[in-house]
């Protein structure tokens, strides 16, 4: 049996840590002295991180069909977590863009949109599950496709949140970065396939210590044929907590108060 090539490309012993500065390729404007790590998450991939308040995640769509289903939990108490309806109604919005915050159920900003080149990220909580994925794209499991298998967003987030002790009961509605879903006059979802996404950037600043989990599986409303989720560059850098003149504080009175509540918690 011929070995798959990826079993043979382990790094040499004299250069054991294969951690290239990937951020230089997809976010070269970041301040080098503040970058903590960077990743390229393959389409359909999943991962999670614990991040400190004052750390930002820069996301860059490296392909046309990038989507990031993302959930946030407060690290000090995983029972405090991103709350979709609280965030939407407090900011009177059905989309996220620069200035918005992602609020917890405790009235605190968990993260803020500090940079955004698209102007619309889908907050409506859709998540691709495996039956839907298989009905839409066919069955592509490990046995026949190895690591080219199709992965769903729901399973990816269950795996990642499970690493932090959370169970299926703790699943929450995610934010879908890079995706745009409009609602037509009759209330129907319409997924935007026209908007160019490749190269788009969005950044989330963490306003509390958080656990972030993500999946780069397709958005479930994406009507395009074929399972082809895009790669996403992710870089973490030390941006510092929101300053007094932060654009997100000035965005709306509600974002100012949510960030104030986070400040009070962090300083207490």
């Amino acid at each position: 049996m011929e070995h798959p090539t990826h079993t043979l490309d382990n790094p040499p012993a004299d250069q054991p840590v294969d951690a290239p500065a990937l951020w230089r390729r997809f976010a070269p404007d970041l301040p080098a002295e503040r970058v903590v790590w960077s990743e390229v998450v393959p389409g359909g991939g999943h991962w999670s991180w614990r991040l400190s308040r004052g750390t930002a995640l820069r996301f860059v769509a490296l392909d046309a069909r990038a989507n990031v289903s993302l959930v946030l939990y407060a690290a000090h108490n995983l029972l405090e977590r991103y709350n979709m309806p609280d965030s939407l109604k407090a900011q009177h919005t059905a989309h996220y863009r620069a200035g918005h915050v992602l609020m917890s159920d405790m009235g605190r900003a968990l993260a803020s949109f500090t940079l955004d080149t698209l102007g619309w990220h889908d907050p409506l909580g859709a998540l691709l599950d495996t039956p839907t994925m298989e009905a839409k794209y066919g069955v592509h499991r490990y046995e026949a496709h190895r690591n080219g298998m199709h992965r769903s967003g729901r399973d990816g987030l269950l795996i990642e949140t499970g690493k932090h002790g959370l169970t299926v009961r703790d699943q929450i509605a995610p934010v879908n970065l890079f995706s745009r879903v409009v609602v037509d006059g009759e209330g129907r979802f319409v997924f935007d396939t026209e908007r160019p996404v490749r190269g788009a950037q969005v950044e989330l600043r963490m306003d509390l210590d958080v656990v972030v989990a993500l999946s780069t599986a397709p958005h479930p409303l994406d009507p395009r044929p074929g399972y082809a989720p895009g790669k996403v560059g992710v870089a973490a850098w030390r941006c510092g907590p929101a300053p007094a003149d932060d654009p997100c504080r000035r965005f709306r009175p509600e974002t100012a108060r949510a960030l104030h509540n986070s400040d009070v918690f962090a300083l207490s």
């Binding site: 798959p4 382990n10 790094p11 046995e143 298998m149 499970g162």
Partner: protein, 218 residues
């Protein structure tokens, strides 16, 4: 302590798959969670040979009791499992007994692969490859019986050959299993089986070619 703990004890089963109550083909690389009642017997068949099957057993109805590698090894006085081996829980109870084994060796020390440990063992860039820990977590999430990451204790790798050498090395050797070889266990108490049919492609535990296995239950 038995003097034959390290021996290979081949034993064929008198049971016929024709009388089984359940036959389950487990695809390569995928998880499975199921339950056996006390007195039931399960056979795991290595359909194509040299496929590591990573299994943890839990006492059904008591999430504090699970297969314990250390208790099992201490009780039998050695590291390899084969016919006659009793799988002992962390509370000292016999959970299952290996009643037949045509392979002859099963690993208790190699554990289950994970994205995180793959980054250490092979390369940082291996982290998005499919792995047993992801399988375990997903199966437990979907089972939703109160088991989670804290319950992912050291597992058994059926059909995997992980010898400890006289000079104290742990080696991942070529398997001694072959197509159609099987191991059969009788449940002494009600048990959950948490299975990952290992998808590892970075070492020879699956001969670089993960394959399906079959579970036959009487």
């Amino acid at each position: 302590m038995t003097a034959t703990a390290a021996a290979i004890r081949l034993q064929e089963s008198p049971l016929s798959p024709d009388t089984a109550t359940r036959r389950h083909r487990q695809p390569a690389g995928e998880p499975w969670f199921t339950t056996l009642r006390a007195g039931q017997t399960v056979r795991i068949v290595d359909l194509e040979g040299n496929q590591a099957v990573d299994v943890i057993f839990y006492a059904a109805g008591d999430n504090t009791e699970h297969y314990s590698a250390t208790d099992t090894l201490l009780r039998q006085g050695g590291i390899y499992l084969t016919t006659g081996s009793v799988l002992v829980s962390n509370l000292g109870r016999a959970m299952l007994t290996i009643v037949a084994d045509t392979c002859g060796r099963h690993d208790t020390l190699g554990g289950a692969c994970a994205a995180e440990s793959n980054t250490v063992r092979y390369a940082l860039q291996k982290k998005f490859m499919h792995n047993c820990r992801d399988n375990y977590l997903l199966a437990l999430q979907n089972a939703d019986v109160g088991l989670g990451k804290r319950d992912l204790v050291p597992n058994i790798n059926f059909f995997m050959n992980v010898p400890v050498t006289a000079d104290g090395q742990l080696t991942f050797a070529d398997g001694i299993s072959a197509p159609g070889k099987y191991v059969e266990l009788r449940a002494e108490i009600d048990v959950h089986l948490l299975v990952s049919n290992c998808p590892q492609l970075n070492n020879p535990c699956n001969a670089y070619h993960p394959t399906p296995v079959e579970f036959v239950i009487w």
